[in-house]
C-alpha cells in the first residue's frame, strides 16, 4: 500500500463516483491533522487499518488500492473519528461507501456473505437455535420471539423486499 503509484493507476472518476452520496465530498477538506487515526481504537490493535489513509487516497483517486485493501473491513464503525474531525469529514460514512463500491465489484468477505444469507434465509442476522429455544422456555418466554420467526408471512415480506432491492443477487454465493 505504501509503494508509490504511477499516474496510470489513478482513476479520475473514482472521487465523483464515491461522492454521489451527499456530504462525502468533504473528504477533500482533510488537512492531515491525524485526529481520526490517533483516536481510532482499531488502529491501536491493527496498525494496518488507518482511516486517514483511505480519506487521503480517495482524493487522489486510488480506486483499486482502496477497494482491494482487506483492512478496509476492520472498521468497527465506532464513529469516534467522524465525531472528532475538525473539518467535518464523514470518515465512517465515506469508508462504508468504499465498501459498497468494493461489494459491487464482487469483493466481499465470506463471513459477511454468511450474515447476509442468514437474513435472506430467516429475516434475522442471528437466528434462533435449539439451546436458545430452550433458554426462552425456561425463562417463561415464547419458544421463538414474536418476530419474523413467529410469523412466516412477515418473513415472506422481508424476503420479497430484499429481492426487490436485488440483495439476493448481490450476495449470491460463488
Amino acid at each position: 500500500m505504501t509503494d508509490p503509484i504511477s499516474s496510470s493507476e489513478i482513476d479520475k472518476n473514482f472521487f465523483g463516483e464515491l461522492t454521489q452520496e451527499k456530504g462525502l465530498e468533504k473528504a477533500l477538506l482533510c488537512f492531515n491533522c491525524s485526529g481520526c487515526s490517533t483516536g481510532c481504537p482499531m488502529k491501536d490493535i491493527e496498525s494496518k487499518f488507518d482511516i486517514k489513509k483511505y480519506i487521503r487516497m480517495a482524493g487522489l483517486g486510488m480506486k483499486n488500492q482502496i477497494l482491494n485493501d482487506p483492512y478496509l473491513w476492520y472498521c468497527t464503525t465506532c464513529y469516534k473519528c467522524q465525531e472528532r474531525c475538525p473539518e467535518g469529514v464523514l470518515n465512517v460514512d465515506t469508508l462504508l461507501r468504499m465498501r459498497t463500491m468494493a461489494v459491487r465489484e464482487g469483493i466481499m468477505l465470506s463471513a459477511h456473505r454468511e450474515v447476509a444469507h442468514f437474513v435472506l434465509d430467516t429475516g434475522h442476522a442471528v437466528p434462533i437455535n435449539d439451546s436458545n429455544r430452550k433458554k426462552r422456555l425456561e425463562l417463561g418466554l415464547s419458544e421463538v420471539p414474536p418476530t419474523v420467526h413467529m410469523y412466516p408471512e412477515a418473513y415472506e415480506q422481508v424476503r420479497k423486499l430484499l429481492k426487490v432491492c436485488e440483495f439476493d443477487a448481490l450476495t449470491q454465493k460463488e
Binding site: 482499531m42 459477511h112 447476509a116 434475522h124 437466528p127 420467526h149 412477515a154 423486499l161
Partner: protein, 325 residues
C-alpha cells in the same frame, strides 16, 4: 417530543423492537426488559413480524437501499400501531435511528424506499420515533422515579458502565443526551439502583464487535475487548453494565475465548434491564444472568446478601406500617 403533544399517554406506550441478539442469544435481556418496563408503568406492545434491524455493519456496507428498505419496514410496523419504537440494543438503535433520520430529511431517499415498500403494500410516513431503552428511561422516566421503585438497593456494587458506541455516536442524530465525549445519563440510571458507576480509563472505548468486524476478524476484535477487561480486572469491578446485546455478547463470550488463551477473567456482564431487575427484586436466575457464558459466584453471593438484607428490612418495617394503617 411530538408524541407527547399528540397524546399525553402515548409516550408511556411503545412497541418493543427485539432485534436478533437479545431474543436469539440472550433472552434474559428480553425477559428483563419486559419485566422492568412493566414495573415502571411503561406498556410495551409486541412489534409482530419485525425482522433484523438490519445489521448495520453488513447492510450499510453492502447496499444502502436494502438497508433503508428493511429498516423502514420495521419502523412502518410501529407507525401502524401508532407508537414509537423501543430498542434494547445500540446496534438496532443506530441502524433504525439513522434510517429514520435519513428518511425524514431526504425526500429522494424516502421516495425510493416507498417505491420498494409499495411492492408489499406498505408506506413509510415518518411519524414514529426510534427510542433506546436507556435514552427513554433517562428522558421519560428519570433516575428519581426509578430510585423510588427500587426494593433491593444494590449498595456496594461497583459497576463499570459500558455505553457502547451507537448509543451516543454519531451525536448529530441523537437529541438531548449531552456530551458524546463525556456522557453521564447512563451512569445516573445505574446509580439510581443503589449500585455505583465508577469511572475508569477507556470507559468509552468500543467493544470491537461492530461494523462486521467481529464476524470477520474475531481475534482483532477480542484484543479490543481484552484491553478494557484488563482495566476492569485491575479496578476490581463487580460487573460490566451495558445497553447493547452485541457488546454484551462480545464481553461475555469474549472472556471465555480469552480465558482459553491463558487469561483469567470472571466479570459478569449485565444489560441495564438486568441490573435494574435485580434492584426491583428479581433473582439472577429469573433474569437469565446465570445463562451468561461468564458467571461469578462472588457476584451472585453479593446479590443474594443484598436481597436478604432488603427482605429483613421489609419485615422490620411491615409491623410499623400495619400500625400506621
Amino acid at each position: 417530543m411530538s408524541t407527547e403533544s399528540d397524546n399525553g399517554k402515548k409516550s408511556q406506550s411503545l412497541s418493543l423492537f427485539l432485534g436478533c441478539v437479545a431474543p436469539n442469544r440472550y433472552p434474559g435481556i428480553e425477559f428483563a426488559s419486559r419485566k422492568v418496563m412493566k414495573d415502571l408503568g411503561v406498556d410495551l406492545h409486541e412489534l409482530k413480524g419485525a425482522s433484523c434491524c438490519p445489521a448495520p455493519g453488513v447492510f450499510k456496507s453492502f447496499d444502502k437501499t436494502a438497508w433503508l428498505t428493511m429498516a423502514s419496514r420495521n419502523i412502518v410496523l410501529s407507525e401502524q400501531m401508532d407508537m414509537d419504537l423501543l430498542t434494547v440494543c445500540n446496534g438496532c438503535y443506530g441502524s433504525l435511528g439513522e434510517a429514520n433520520h435519513m428518511l425524514l430529511h431526504d425526500s429522494d431517499c424516502k421516495d425510493k424506499v416507498n417505491k420498494n415498500l409499495s411492492e408489499v403494500g406498505l408506506e413509510y410516513k415518518g411519524n414514529a420515533k426510534v427510542r433506546h431503552i436507556i435514552e427513554f428511561l433517562e428522558k421519560d422516566v428519570g433516575p428519581k422515579a426509578i430510585k423510588e421503585k427500587v426494593t433491593v438497593p444494590l449498595d456496594g456494587i461497583k459497576v463499570a458502565v459500558h455505553y457502547g458506541c451507537h448509543m451516543i455516536r454519531p451525536s448529530k442524530e441523537k437529541e438531548g443526551l449531552g456530551s458524546a465525549e463525556n456522557p453521564r445519563f447512563f451512569d445516573a440510571l445505574v446509580d439510581a439502583t443503589g449500585a455505583k458507576s465508577v469511572d475508569y480509563e477507556e470507559k468509552l472505548m468500543c467493544c470491537g464487535a461492530g461494523g462486521g468486524a467481529r464476524s470477520a476478524f474475531l481475534g482483532a476484535t477480542l484484543k479490543l475487548a481484552e484491553k478494557k477487561l484488563d482495566i476492569l480486572k485491575k479496578g476490581e469491578f463487580d460487573c460490566i453494565v451495558d445497553a447493547c446485546p452485541f457488546c454484551h455478547l462480545q464481553y461475555d463470550s469474549g472472556q471465555v475465548q480469552l480465558n482459553k488463551e491463558g487469561k483469567d477473567y470472571r466479570i459478569p456482564v449485565l444489560h441495564y434491564s438486568q441490573l435494574l431487575g435485580l434492584a426491583l427484586g428479581y433473582s439472577s436466575n429469573e433474569l437469565g444472568i446465570q445463562m451468561n457464558m461468564t458467571t461469578n459466584p462472588a457476584f451472585e453471593e453479593k446479590i443474594i446478601a443484598l436481597q436478604e438484607k432488603a427482605k429483613e428490612k421489609a419485615q422490620e418495617q411491615a409491623p410499623e406500617k400495619a400500625k400506621e394503617a
